[in-house]
Every structure is written in C-alpha cells, then in structure tokens.
C-alpha cells in the first residue's frame, strides 16, 4: 500500500484537532468520544497493530456530521435473523483503478477488518451506470445482503427505486442528494481539501497556466474545480485554470489524452476532479509537469511530479453506521464529513511543495477544519464577471451542494449536458 504511517499520523493529528474544535463549538457533548474514536478505530487495517480504540468502537454510533432526515425518522432494523450482517458495495469501476473505487474498497476492507465475523462484506465492481444497477441490487439482496452501499452518482435513481421496493434493507449512498426512510446519503467536504491541493498547484506554476481534467459538470465536481482554482489563485493571483471535461468517471485513455492536450496548450501544472484513475498523472509524469491527484495518496508511484491530493476515508462514516445497525439504532439521514472528522484528508506532500507553501496550506487547513466551506466567502465572481457572493457573504450548505457556476479564473464554459 501507500505510505500509511505518515497518513495515519496526519489523520491522528486531524482527529485530535477535531476533538478540540468540537469541544469549542459546544456541539452535542455526548457525541464527541464516539465521533473521535471512530477514525482511530478505522485505522486498524492500515497500520499493522490494532490501535487502542478498537475495543470501544463508536458506541451509540453517533456521528458529529450526520443528521437524520427528520426528527421522527423511523429506526430501520435490517439485522438478519441469524448469522452475520451482510453488507454489499457496488462500484462503478474496478477495485484497482488507482483512485476512487480503489479507495472505496480500501474502506470496505477496513470495515471488514473492524467488525471481523460480525459483518460479512462483499462487492460488485465495474457496474455501469444504467439499468444494470437495479439488477445488481436485486441480486445482492437475493443473496441475503441487507445493507447496500452505492458509490457512484449515476446509481442514485436505482437506489431510490430499490429503497422503495425493499423497506427492510438499509441503503447507503455516496455523493447523491435523494433520501428516504431507508436511504441515507454520505459524502464530505472534498472542496476543502481540493482548495488546499489547488494552493500547492498554484504555487508550483511558473507560467500561471494550470490545467484540470474533470468528469461531469455536476455540483460536486464544479465545487471541486472552483475550490481548486481558488486555492491556486490564492498562491498565484493571476493564474488561470483550463478545464477539459471528459464526460466519464473512469476512462484512463481519454483522461490521458485530455491531460496531454492541456500540456500541449502550455499548462505547466495539472490537476483533476471527479476522475477516478491516475492517468492524468501518467501524462504529467511523461512530460515532467507537477500534478495534484485525487482520491488517494499516489506519492509512492508518482514521486517526481506529485504535489498532493484530496483523499477519502469512507470507513470513518461506514463503521459507526454499521455499528448502529448492529445496535438496532439505524436511521436514514445525511452525512457530510470534513477535515475535522478525518473523512477527507490532504494526502502527503511531494518534494515539489516548498516549506513556505506547506506553511501557507497548514494555516488554511486549520481554518477549513474549523469552518468547512469557508473558502467560499465573498467577494466571489463567476468567470463571466457576474457577482456570485458579495463581500463577507458565504454559501449556505444548499448553495454549496447545488453549485452551478465556474469561478473567476477558470477558462471555458459549463458544457451543455
């Protein structure tokens, strides 16, 4: 695997920071120990030794960043009558894509290691977004799975339909927005770490021309592109970001073509958002161009060009949620993790990131850990010159989720779908 020791250390620091912040914020006090223990426990598979927290995993399964859909949301009991709880993951790509799906599967294995014999996990990979999703869900339920995790935006409607048809199955969906009594949504503030990664990218650019390979122009991805651009322009005020939309989550040959086309256009730093594979990094490596990745720490494989990346630890959410099922306390709701609970982290820095830049990033990391999403505070203009946010005004959570503009500094338009 990748350099886990450093990652664990970072996560531990972030978790420690989280304790302090939650305490200061005066949130529901009783939830803190559980919420902060969850990340520590989830590290068990990554490190070789079982950490101290393993014995007391997320009791009560309260998650600081989780909100039930409503106060009277019913408790769904999807425990099996006998045997271990069977949970299944559905992936859009292969488990070895070097990014998104791989990271989901790392988390699935973390869940498996955490619960041992109490939970039996399985997965289906390479499931295309389309009619096959519903069929896959039905097959998994027929096999006795009572918890289904979805990991690609385009699976959402199938999950809504399946949740309606199977009210006794717990559905957990990543990166969507639709919910029901037995359908939860979980994701996290990648725009915060994207902003920090963008800072590293901006500082690495000599010409001020940066390039980004992006997937689909939906809210999640636009947020990331805008935050990355903002970070780059914080370090390199007049820089621009040229975005190529490849209209796919996972298409390495096309991703590489897009990255090469950007390099041919003269960009001297590359980034990516919503792109599951590190093919952009391959193009960057071949051309000797610094690269900020996405999804996972790829510093080991792309050392020469590596800057940093947004990385996810999905098990931060999944372990307490499965514990809630085992405890008979699962309710559906929305989870939006962030830096403070360790759901999103900034991957380790490459040698190309200077000490000065690291210090600047550390300062911003502290702010974003305290107030997620605060980089989107006005004055902010879109790239057509219209004012989006007046000075001092921030986006509401709903505005963040439904973002539909490209920020000043991004070259190009949102392509018509």
């Amino acid at each position: 695997m990748l350099s886990k020791t450093r990652g664990s250390l970072g996560l531990a620091l972030v978790a420690a920071l989280g304790i302090g912040l939650v305490a200061c914020g005066g949130d529901d006090e009783s939830s803190e120990p559980a919420a902060t223990k969850a990340p520590a426990a989830s590290e068990a598979p990554a490190g070789s030794d079982a950490p101290a927290g393993t014995d007391a995993p997320a009791q009560g399964a309260t998650l600081a960043n989780f909100t039930p859909w409503s106060a009277d949301a019913p408790v769904i009991d999807c425990r099996p009558e006998e045997g271990p709880l069977k949970a299944a993951w559905i992936y859009v790509g292969p488990t070895n894509d070097g990014g998104w799906t791989q990271q989901h599967d790392v988390s699935r294995q973390a869940v498996q290691d955490h619960f041992g014999g109490a939970v039996e996990t399985t997965y289906k990979e390479n499931v295309p977004e389309g009619p096959q999703v519903l069929q896959t869900i039905e097959d998994l339920i027929a096999d006795g799975n009572t918890v289904i995790f979805g990991t690609s935006f385009g699976f959402q409607d199938a999950f809504v339909e399946a949740a309606e048809a199977h009210p006794d199955v717990c559905f957990e969906f990543a990166t969507g927005f639709k919910g029901s009594d037995n359908l939860s949504q979980f994701y996290g503030a990648a725009e915060d770490t994207d902003f920090l990664a963008g800072m590293a990218a901006g500082a690495a650019s000599a010409t001020g021309k940066l390039g980004m390979v992006a997937s689909f122009p939906i809210g999640e991805v636009l947020r990331g592109v805008n935050a990355w651009t903002m970070g780059a322009r914080m370090m390199n005020p007049d820089s621009t970001v040229n975005v190529v939309w490849v209209n796919s989550w996972f298409d390495p040959p096309n991703e590489r073509k897009a990255a090469e086309a950007l390099i041919a256009e003269g960009v001297d730093v590359l980034g990516q958002k919503g792109i599951d594979s590190p093919a952009t990094g391959d193009a960057a490596k071949a051309a000797g161009v610094p690269w900020a990745g996405y999804n996972a720490d790829q510093s080991a494989n792309y050392g020469d060009v590596w800057l940093t990346a947004t990385a996810y630890d999905w098990s931060i959410y999944q372990i307490p949620r499965l514990q809630a099922i085992l405890d008979g306390a699962w309710v559906a709701g929305n989870y939006y993790g962030n830096l403070s609970d360790g759901f999103v982290t900034l991957a380790s820095f490459g040698d190309l990131v200077s000490e000065e830049t690291r210090a600047a990033i550390a300062a911003e990391l502290e702010k974003l850990t305290a107030t997620p999403g605060s980089q989107f505070t006005g004055p902010i203009n879109d790239n057509k010159g219209n004012e989006v946010l007046a000075a001092g005004v921030s986006h509401t959570f709903e505005e963040l989720m439904s973002m539909a503009y490209l920020i000043e500094g991004v070259i190009g338009d949102i392509p018509a779908s």
Partner: protein
C-alpha cells in the same frame, strides 16, 4: 509554432494511429489468406495485458524488459489467433462466429480481465514503458519535430513494417502465393501451394501484430492496465483493412486519419472550442460505418481487391 493546432493534431494522429495500424496490418495478412478475423479486439486486449504483466515482472535492464514485454504481448496475440486458425482452418467453422467468440472470450469482461486480476497487473503503473523518443534531438524542431521526431520506437517500427509488408505482398513469390490462397484456394492448391499452412501462418502473424497493437495501449498510451482499454480499436482496425483496400500503405494513412479523430475531442476541448464531446468521440465509429458502406458496394468488391475467398473455409473435396 509547435502548439499550432495542426501540429498537435498531426502528432497525436500518428501517436494514436500507430496501434490501429499494427492491428490493421495484421488484419491485411489474415484476410489476404482468406481468413476473416473478428477476434482482433480480444486479441489486442490479451496482448496488452500480457505485455503489461511482462513489463512489471521481467527482470533486467529497462530496454530488455520492454523488448520482452513487446515479444510476450505479440506471443499472446499469436496464441490467441492460433486458436482462431484451428477453429477456422482446421475445423472449418463459420469464421464470423469464431471471431466473435474469440473477442467475447478474450475481451474486456473475459480472459484479459481475468488475467489482469490474477496477475494483479492493474495494481501498479507500468513503469517500464514505451516512451516517446527525441530522435536526433529534433523533437522541438518547428512543425516536423513533434510530428516526426517525437514518436515512440514502435511508430518508427511501423514505418519499416509498411515498406516490408508492401514488398512482401506485391514483390515476392510468397506474397503472390498468399494472394492466390486468398483469391482462389482451389487454384492455389492445384498449383501445389499448401493452403492450410499459408492460412495458419498468416492468421498467427496477424494475431501477433494485433497483440503488438495491444502492447502499444498498455505500454505507450496509458502505461497502466485498464480492463477493456482498447475500447473498440480492434473493430476500427477491421474496418481499416477494408478502408485501405487490403494495402499496407493506404491502411497507414487511414490509421492516422482515425488516430486524429480519436484525439480531436480532447485537443479542441483544451482549446475551449465549443463542441459536443459525445459527437466527436463517436466520429471514429461513425466513420467506420461510412467506410464500410462505401466499400461494400459491388464496384468496390470487384475493383478494390477484397480477397475473393475471404470468409470461406477451404475444403479440398468440395468443388
């Protein structure tokens, strides 16, 4: 000058057209012998995954490993098409069905992805890859630099192959006999030409070249293995054989045309030219259909060199 859009497109046309040419050249040999190989896509994928595995596991210096990966990838392609030859030449099965079966069996959700899983090929990038060269230090020369002097060794090999293949097909006795086998195996047999041997050899050679095309994908284009990464290149290659009228030189031009179409979308998007990516990405396949319709006219069949016995198994007793 070198970021001139025409320079970029010409350079990537050659870069992305090269694997199409390898596979299509293989198709020319196979079809000239009278065997239709619809298994090219699956053969390319098996070549690609074997080459990627070899690049990760064969010890020795970097160039030796890459050479071994190329040879192993070609060998995997040759093995796959040996299976096709057994089916089509010895067992005289329907060639269309046999070829489709090979593509399904070896393709993106078949054997190639199975091998990728058990060999764990995709878990790490392919570090020992086929890189773009800087020939004579002219890679940065205006216009011609990126187009001609900044390609991979396999592209230069393909230019040698186009000459060798043309000479072989049209200037040697073996080439003449090969064409005779494809036109009229009965006549060739009566002349004492070993039809079965010619068909076997050229089907296997075709498979090796398709394997080389696959290696180009996993070692040069995306130096990582991805299941089904050729994404229809094998089918484009089959159309290219027809587009090139079973002639290597015309096929090379056709391959570069399709290579340009494949990279046009990214290039235009990076220039912020407002185009529909979906339409552009579909262009190579749309062109494939157009080409097939044009050349399937009776005129094309009579005048443009389709081997008359293409697709028909040869049985000596059958007259």
């Amino acid at each position: 000058m070198n970021s001139n859009i025409f320079v970029i497109i010409a350079s990537s046309a050659i870069f992305y057209g090269t694997p199409l040419f390898f596979a299509a050249l293989g198709g020319i040999f196979t079809e000239r012998s009278g065997v239709l190989n619809l298994g090219v896509e699956g053969t390319m994928l098996l070549g690609g995954v074997s080459g990627a595995w070899a690049s990760q596991h064969v010890p020795g210096s970097a160039w030796f490993t890459v050479l071994a990966a190329i040879i192993i990838g070609m060998a995997a392609g040759a093995l796959t098409s040996t299976l096709l030859a057994i089916l089509c030449v010895t067992l005289r099965t329907n060639q269309t069905v046999a070829g489709l079966a090979i593509t399904i069996f070896a393709g993106g959700v078949g054997l190639s992805s199975y091998f990728a899983n058990i060999w764990k090929v995709a878990e790490a990038p392919v570090d020992r890859q086929v890189r773009r060269l800087d020939v004579f230090g002219w890679a940065d020369a205006p216009v011609v630099g990126p187009i001609l002097f900044n390609q991979t060794i396999l592209t230069y090999l393909s230019w040698v192959l186009v000459v060798l293949a043309s000479v072989y097909l049209f200037r040697t006795r073996f080439g003449l006999q090969l064409r005779a086998v494809g036109e009229s195996p009965q006549t060739a047999d009566a002349m004492g030409i070993n039809v079965v041997k010619y068909r076997y050899l050229h089907t296997i050679l075709g498979g090796a070249l398709a394997g080389l095309g696959g290696v180009y994908y996993s070692l040069a284009i995306v130096p990582t293995w991805v299941d089904g990464m050729t994404k229809g290149a094998g089918w484009i290659a089959i159309a290219l054989v027809i587009f090139g009228f079973w002639r290597p030189s015309i096929t090379l031009i056709g391959a570069y045309l399709f290579g340009a179409l494949q990279s046009l979308s990214s290039t235009l998007k990076a220039r912020n030219v407002q185009v529909s990516g979906d339409v552009l990405d579909a262009l190579p396949f749309f062109m494939t259909i157009v080409v097939l319709v044009l050349v399937s006219t009776r005129f094309a069949h009579r005048r443009l060199g389709a081997p008359a016995a293409l697709g028909f198994p040869y049985e000596r007793e059958e007259r």
